[in-house]
């Protein structure tokens, strides 16, 4: 357990110190959302209508941006060898790395989202749903992304391949995440959608560590 925590702490520290990771993700999220009012026009009705979709799509793309860092640097500098050679099971190490990735990307995205929701004129009633939805759904993004990042390890043009693999798998969180916000704007309960988002994350947590670990072992052969 202490060993797992040490992996989590170190990855978080690396993500924060390298600056690139967290700052890049948040910066992209902000810029992508801010571009929409320029493109669509400032009419509150139109913006407010599509706000949920804008925020979720921007969050997905921002999370995608940092995925190649999850294993690539570690693979290139030999750190992955040491993690595989440690006494902790690789599946749990993957889970710790995903948790750190989420804490460095998904968590700040969710906390920042109400500010950006103002930019796109989302009805303030839906702010809590937006934050809770992102909190519940972004772990799935990190976990699904981990499998793809492990599979594309060492591939040339990893980033492109990664997006092609991951984006279709991000559709379910996107559908339910946007639907939850939508529902709370309409005054209908968003609870069902939020539960489904949580379920998606839990399902990803059950499958992703094994799939990622298998892919990582394959990459190291």
């Amino acid at each position: 357990m202490a060993a797992l925590l040490s992996v989590f702490h170190r990855d978080l520290r690396l993500a924060l110190r390298q600056g690139g990771d967290t700052a890049l993700v948040l910066g992209f999220f902000v810029l992508a959302v801010v571009l929409f009012p320029f493109g669509v026009g400032p009419e509150p009705e139109i913006l407010g209508r599509i706000a949920a979709g804008i925020l979720w799509v921007a969050a997905l793309l921002a999370a995608l941006l940092s995925l190649d860092r999850l294993y690539q640097a570690e693979y290139e500098d030999g750190g992955l060898d040491l993690i595989v050679l440690s006494p902790i099971p690789l599946e749990l190490a993957v889970l710790a790395k995903c948790a750190a990735h989420w804490a460095a990307t998904g968590l700040p995205l969710a906390l920042l989202s109400p500010l950006l929701a103002l930019v796109v004129d989302l009805d303030p009633v839906a702010f809590p749903t937006l934050v809770v939805g992102l909190l519940a759904g972004t772990p799935a993004l990190s976990l699904i992304g981990s499998v793809a990042a492990a599979l594309t390890l060492g591939a040339r043009r990893q980033g492109v391949l990664l997006s092609l693999l991951v984006l279709p798998l991000y559709v379910p969180p996107l559908v339910f995440g946007a639907a939850a916000v939508e529902a709370s704007v309409m005054g209908a309960g968003a609870r069902a959608d939020l539960y489904i988002l949580g379920a998606l994350s839990l399902a990803a947590m059950a499958v992703s560590p094994w799939a990622s670990a298998a892919a990582l072992r394959l990459a190291l052969e």
């Binding site: 202490a2 060993a3 925590l5 040490s6 992996v7 170190r10 520290r13 690396l14 110190r17 390298q18 570690e74 290139e76 500098d77 030999g78 750190g79 060898d81 040491l82 993690i83 595989v84 050679l85 440690s86 006494p87 902790i88 099971p89 190291l220 052969e221």
Partner: protein, 201 residues
């Protein structure tokens, strides 16, 4: 890559792997570490095959490969304490071992610098200090003397000597002349399979 290789490493023993580039020294070390699985043959620890319990084998092995896993934004002290924790050591309890590891490779002065400021030889020493930060009975060293100056190499030789005196085993692949008392040598070139060029190609 090679076949028919057989060796035994007793406690306190050292085996130096030699051979031309591509003769399979690194592959043999990765096989022994458990990172690779052999196409044929057996790897035993005592009487048990290592594949029977890989996590247990991993905790017996220290592997220092070509890549030193040194993160540019972390300090040597943080890296060593992380590597110790990864092997299940409590940070408070491993503090003396950590100081000893830093001292053994003369890293005290740079212990709190980010590793991006360190030279190639200093990074190598950080990677080697891992051997002392957490104990393990079998050391697998792949070209450990790369980028080391003479003094650091002498330090490495002393560290290996102390490890062997305490009953530790060392398996080492090198081109450099590393002085090890009574070390056995294994030249992998002798085990290369004979590949006849295909006349059809």
């Amino acid at each position: 890559m090679f076949d028919g290789v057989s060796f035994r490493l007793p406690p306190g023993g050292a085996l130096v792997l030699t051979g031309t580039n591509g003769s399979g020294k690194s592959s043999l070390l990765r096989l022994v570490s458990g990172l690779l699985a052999p196409a044929a043959g057996r790897l035993l620890w005592g009487a048990t095959p290592i594949a029977a319990d890989l996590p247990a084998h991993h905790s017996r092995v220290h592997y220092v490969g070509h890549l030193d896993a040194v993160k540019p934004v972390m300090t040597p002290r943080e890296l060593l304490s992380f590597w110790g924790a990864l092997r299940g050591l409590d940070p408070a309890a491993s503090a003396p071992a950590l100081r000893e590891a830093l001292a053994a490779f003369a890293l005290e002065a740079v212990a709190d610098w980010p590793c991006r400021w360190l030279s190639a030889g200093q990074r190598r020493r950080v990677a080697l200090a891992r051997l002392l930060a957490a104990p393990a009975p079998l050391w697998l060293l792949d070209e450990p003397a790369t980028a080391l100056d003479d003094e650091s190499q002498a330090r490495l030789e002393r560290v290996i000597e102390v490890h062997r005196a305490a009953g530790g085993r060392v398996l080492l692949a090198t081109h450099a002349a590393i002085a090890l008392d009574g070390a056995a040598r294994l030249a992998l070139d002798a085990f290369a399979p004979h590949l006849e060029p295909d006349p059809a190609v």
